[in-house]
């Protein structure tokens, strides 16, 4: 996988993960182009598309689009399930995740992703093992403040 982008229906980027070295300028250009392309697609359309020399695999969950760029020989369907597994992980961790969880806890979204995918490849596909790793990290936290934010749950 070359990169993963999460963006909202309004085109706001919520998470970006790049597994290939690119300049900030290129990253912005790619993001702009892809967000536009994917948002222009109608529901029921195929989840895959050719883009430059890459294959784009995307799926929409409620208000969020999850979009991955993979190389020619990579498997589209399994990438779709990578997205789904990541959503499951977020869901389990946040307890019915919504876009706001990802906005306010963006660092957690990154940590979970790093446990699941590393260098663009699946590191650990077991849901239990990934969450165990994150929980252990959470146990190492010394102070915990409670923040209560009312959020409209979308999942």
């Amino acid at each position: 996988m070359q990169f993963m982008l999460l963006f909202s229906r309004q085109g706001k980027l919520r998470l970006q993960k790049w597994y290939v070295p690119l300049s900030d300028k290129e990253k912005k250009k790619i993001t702009r182009e892809l967000v536009q392309t994917v948002l222009a697609r109608k529901p029921k359309m195929c989840s895959f598309l050719e883009w430059r020399d890459l294959k784009i695999v995307y799926k929409r969950y409620a208000s969020l689009y999850f979009c991955c760029a993979i190389e020619d020989q990579d498997n589209e369907l399994i990438t779709l399930e990578i997205i789904h597994r990541y959503v499951e992980l977020l869901d389990k961790y946040f307890g019915s995740v919504c876009e706001l969880d990802i906005i306010f806890n963006f660092e957690k979204a990154y940590f979970i992703l790093d446990e699941f995918l590393l260098g663009g490849e699946a590191q650990e596909t077991s849901k239990k093992n990934v969450l165990k790793a994150i929980e252990q990290a959470d146990l190492l936290q010394e102070v915990r403040h409670l923040i209560k934010i009312t959020v409209d749950k979308v999942f």
């Binding site: 895959f48 498997n75 369907l77 699946a122 590191q123």
Partner: protein, 959 residues
């Protein structure tokens, strides 16, 4: 999970994020951010030392601001400080900041690397993982330098925790991708491969990505992974859905690992060990069988995971391309998916079938789905799916269904999405050319293309139709008639006018007998379009007019009138004006004979790779057009064009075109070298820059008409490659750089040869002191002179854009191995240029083909049985193994290709006699291809042993 874990208590951060979200406008947001940045900056600069928590909070805010799309130019140092905190969350945020905002500031990298080094040696698995994640995320060369040797040790150490192993494997993969030279597996190789046997599925999942990447680069070192991968796969495939516990995903056991295992196997040919192969085939069959079983869940995740494995298995089956039974089953399975209600599956089935279409075992099976695919092209609602359908139609096209497919694609083109029109046009043009049995169909198709999608018809496409019409006299009349009819349309595309102008200018006489298309009618029709056209098209039309004057003397007065009018002869465009002036003058002063010679019909275009195919390749990028497609096109191209040079370098064109102008006085080209417009490239191939720009001063206008210098020169590989490319052909571009292009054309008879060298000055500046000399090195110049090369000196000045010619007379006295050398010296802008090239004079040029019966052949073969008379070489195929390509090469060699001689029809045998002044050397050749292994065995038996050896050397590089 409790809500507590959602944040780790950075209240300030949450408040800040809320503030940003509450901003009503972009300006308000920027204002809020600037305020925050100023605050953070003052905190960082303040005298009071910040505690870890505050540092973490501010760094996190900076990160958030960066992720919103703003530039962050400070805070890096604070983030680096966090790395050495002993509080996990602070360290974690520090690493996240570094991962997201990499900075190549070397000072910082050193500090970061230090922190990583400490964490790696901390023996605390969570810290180690954080450090490894950071390396994997950044993956810079500096990090590779620092850690590439350390990580393999962590990866294979017996006491490393599983989670650390997983991170280490993928971290190493990332470093290998950025700096392969720094990651040396060496002694670790076998222990890394054995991670495939690891108890922990997560370790296997991570390690296999690394192993796959390393195997692609060093297949031999890693080949033991094949049997391990097969047994692992076999265990997964045969396991019950509950066996693998948490690695089962929606009732599918370990789908990610299965896909990766199948992917790894695609780096290798089928296993040689029968037992391993048997086990693998069993796995593949099981996977195909499971596709037919009722689903264990209605969830799309279940079917996606299952089908992901299925598609990967099919990719492997296609990769092996050796199990007809599996290939046909795969094809049937994909056939079912073609009508599946899931768009994703239809898309993937179309895509996967494209590759199946190129296998000889499944090509026919794919063709049975033609109706479904055509239907998909017509009815799919998603353009990306339609695109796949068009690709598949292109891939499954052959002689039997070409007319149907081309017709469908043409009709689809009328409504096709703009984004894919150009590519569709190229594909239709290629198919029409490849499978043209009758050329009228070809001409019709291309003209239809121009009519339907004129804007998308690139130059390559209309050049090509002209090339083909010029080379095939049986279609010229039809083409003239058809373009004449097409031009009747009140609004026709400019490309149609170009093709029409060119073809009527050349072949208008073929339809002039019909009063409805009499010369004047033709002319008036063309001229009615003139004013609506762009300058290049007008220039082309003017050339067509002068050709008309030659073809139809009765139009002379009318056309001269047109040329004479102010809008032509005083046109503000210098090219148009020049043409009008020159043509007018030419038509008034030249005698009919001169006119007829100057305006003679264009000589046939030498054969070369279809320029359209080259364009498609360029468009899709290297690798996008499959090898088979290229080979196909070469083979088919040959049929269409009647053989000849069709190597990837297809440069015979400009040289022989120049010849025709030299030897046949001059053939007025439609395009002048002084035309810098793209249309000047009609004769050029891929490059679009015209060769030179001769000054169009009024004084030498008429001279310019007759001046030579071929148009745009195709680029050819420089250096010795040039030499080997000419073993099986006689004409082409031998050398080309920024300044100079050297074309050769040669002919041989008996032991004599004549070589024409064409030196083209590609610049606009004169070459001074231009001298050439030919020397015969080594044995050639020894006391027994084996090759006698005579040459006359050339003129010392070569004008910018001009081309000069030199003739070499060659006599072969005795057989030889070395090649004569051509040395060229000249001054370009004061600097002396010196260049030495190997002249492609090889012993096989003096072959006389000899036909003989099978009986005679084997009798002689036996006679030449002394060991030194035979030379043999076994080598890997470097080029297409296609029959027609091979035959063309063997014929180009100069020998006779003997049919029905070898009992094995796959083999080729040839016979010929090499003529030298002193003696004749009989040569027999046998070439045995092994398509499966992609190898050849070449055997030569000659009456003189040195000849056997030399021919063997030369030929081993050709196939």
């Amino acid at each position: 999970m409790p809500a507590v874990s959602k944040g780790d208590g950075m209240r300030g951060l949450a408040v800040f994020i809320s503030d940003i979200r509450n901003c009503k406008s972009k300006e308000a947001e920027i204002k809020r951010i600037n305020k925050e940045l100023a605050n953070i900056r003052s905190k960082f600069k303040g005298d009071k030392a910040l505690d870890g928590y505050s540092k973490k909070k501010y760094v996190c805010k900076l990160l958030f601001i960066f992720l919103l799309g703003h530039d962050i130019d400070f805070g890096h140092m604070e983030a680096v400080n966090l790395l050495s905190s002993n509080k996990y969350t602070e360290k974690q945020i520090g690493y996240l900041f570094i991962s997201v905002l990499v900075n190549s500031n070397s000072e910082l990298i050193r500090l970061i690397n230090n922190a990583i080094k400490n964490d790696l040696s901390s023996r605390n698995p969570t810290f180690m993982c954080l450090a490894l994640h950071c390396i994997a995320n950044v993956g810079s060369r500096e990090m590779a330098e620092a850690f590439a040797s350390e990580i393999p040790r962590i990866l294979v150490a017996g006491d490393t925790m599983d989670s650390v192993k997983q991170s280490a494997a993928l971290c190493l993969l990332r470093l290998y991708k950025t700096s392969p030279d720094l990651v040396l597996m060496g002694e670790w190789t076998s222990r890394v491969v054995h991670l495939l046997n690891d108890q922990h599925m997560g370790v296997v999942t991570a390690a296999i990505s690394l192993i796959t990447c390393l195997s692609q680069k060093n297949p031999d070192e890693f080949k033991t992974c094949v049997s391990l991968a097969v047994s692992r796969l076999s265990r997964i495939v045969s396991s019950a859905s509950t066996d693998l516990q948490d690695y089962t995903y929606y009732f599918v056991p370990a789908p990610w690992l299965s896909c990766k295992l199948l992917r790894l196997l695609q780096c290798y040919p089928p296993p040689e060990d029968g037992a391993v192969k048997g086990r693998l085939v069993e796995c593949l069959e099981t996977i195909l069988n499971k596709a037919q079983e009722p689903p264990k869940s209605k969830k799309v995740q279940h079917s996606n995971a299952k089908n992901a494995i299925l598609f990967e298995a099919i990719s492997l089956i296609i990769h092996y391309d050796s199990e007809p039974n599996l290939l046909v089953r795969a094809c049937n399975q994909l056939g079912q998916f073609l009508q599946h209600r899931e768009t994703n599956l239809r898309y993937l089935a179309l895509e996967s079938m494209c590759t199946l279409a190129s296998s000889e075992f499944s090509h026919e099976a794919v063709k049975t789905h033609i109706e479904t695919v055509i239907n998909a092209l017509k009815t799919e609602r998603d353009v990306s799916v339609r695109q796949r359908a068009a690709d598949l139609l292109y891939a499954m096209c052959d002689r039997s269904n070409a007319k149907q497919i081309v017709a469908e694609m043409l009709s689809y083109l009328e409504t096709a999405d703009y984004s894919i029109r150009e590519e569709m046009v190229l594909k239709v043009a290629i198919l029409a050319e490849k499978y043209a049995v009758d050329y009228s169909w070809y001409v019709d198709t291309i003209l239809n293309l121009i009519r339907i999608a004129g804007d998308y018809v690139s130059e390559e496409v209309w050049y090509r139709v002209i090339q083909i019409v010029i080379n095939r006299d049986d279609v010229q009349g039809y083409a003239a008639k058809t373009v004449f009819e097409a031009l009747q349309a009140p609004a026709c595309h400019e490309n149609m006018v170009k093709v029409g102008g060119y073809i009527l200018g050349e072949f208008g006489n073929l339809i002039a007998g019909d009063p409805r298309s009499s010369p004047l009618v033709q002319f008036n029709l063309l001229h009615s379009k003139f004013h609506l056209c762009s300058v290049p098209t007008r220039a082309l039309l003017l050339s067509a007019y002068i050709k008309f004057i030659n073809l139809f003397p009765e139009t002379k007065a009318t056309i001269q009138e047109v040329l004479r009018c102010d809008s032509q002869i005083r046109n503000s465009d210098v090219e148009l004006q020049q043409r009008a002036v020159e043509y007018l003058k030419l038509s008034s002063i030249a005698s009919t004979d001169v006119l007829a010679t100057v305006l003679e019909e264009m000589p046939p275009f030498p054969e070369r790779e279809s320029s359209i195919l080259a364009k498609l390749k360029k468009k899709k990028g290297p690798g996008a057009v499959s090898v088979t497609e290229l080979e196909d096109s070469k083979r088919e191209g040959g049929e269409l064009n009647g053989g000849g040079d069709r190597g990837p370098d297809t440069s015979a064109m400009s040289a022989s075109n120049a010849v025709s102008r030299h030897s046949v006085t001059s053939n007025l080209s439609y395009v002048f070298q002084s035309t810098p417009s793209p249309s000047a490239d009609l004769l050029g191939i891929r490059s679009s820059a015209p060769a030179g720009t001769a000054p169009a001063s009024a004084g030498n206008l008429l001279v310019d008409v007759f001046s030579e210098a071929g148009p745009a020169a195709p680029s050819a590989a420089v250096n010795d490659d040039g030499f080997l490319r000419f073993v099986c052909k006689n004409n082409g571009v031998l050398f080309e750089n920024q300044l100079l292009q050297i074309g050769i054309k040669s002919e041989y008879r008996q032991n004599l040869g004549r070589m024409y060298l064409f030196y083209g000055n590609k610049t606009s500046v004169q070459f001074a002191s231009f001298t050439t000399s030919v020397s015969c090195p080594g044995e050639l110049q020894s006391h027994i002179l084996s090759l006698n090369v005579q040459t006359k000196q050339v003129e010392p000045l070569v004008e910018g854009g001009a081309q000069i010619q030199q003739v070499l007379n060659i006599e072969c006295l005795t057989d030889f191995s070395d090649a004569p050398l051509l040395n060229i010296k000249f001054r370009y802008g004061g600097a002396l240029q010196n260049l030495t090239l190997k002249l492609p004079v090889t012993i096989n040029k003096f072959f006389q083909p000899t036909e003989m019966s099978s009986h005679d052949f084997f009798q002689r073969w036996k006679q030449l049985s002394q060991p030194q008379q035979e030379a043999q070489k076994i080598f890997k195929a470097n080029h297409s193994m296609d029959t027609e390509v091979l035959k063309a090469k063997l014929l180009g060699l100069g020998t006779a290709l003997l049919d029905n001689v070898d009992p094995n029809p796959e083999n080729y045998v040839c016979a010929g006699v090499i003529q030298t002044k002193g003696q004749q050397v009989g040569c027999l050749l046998r070439l045995e291809p092994n398509a499966q292994a992609q190898m050849y065995r070449l055997t030569l038996r000659c009456s003189k042993d040195s000849v056997s050896r030399r021919l063997c050397e030369l030929l081993a590089e050709q196939f």
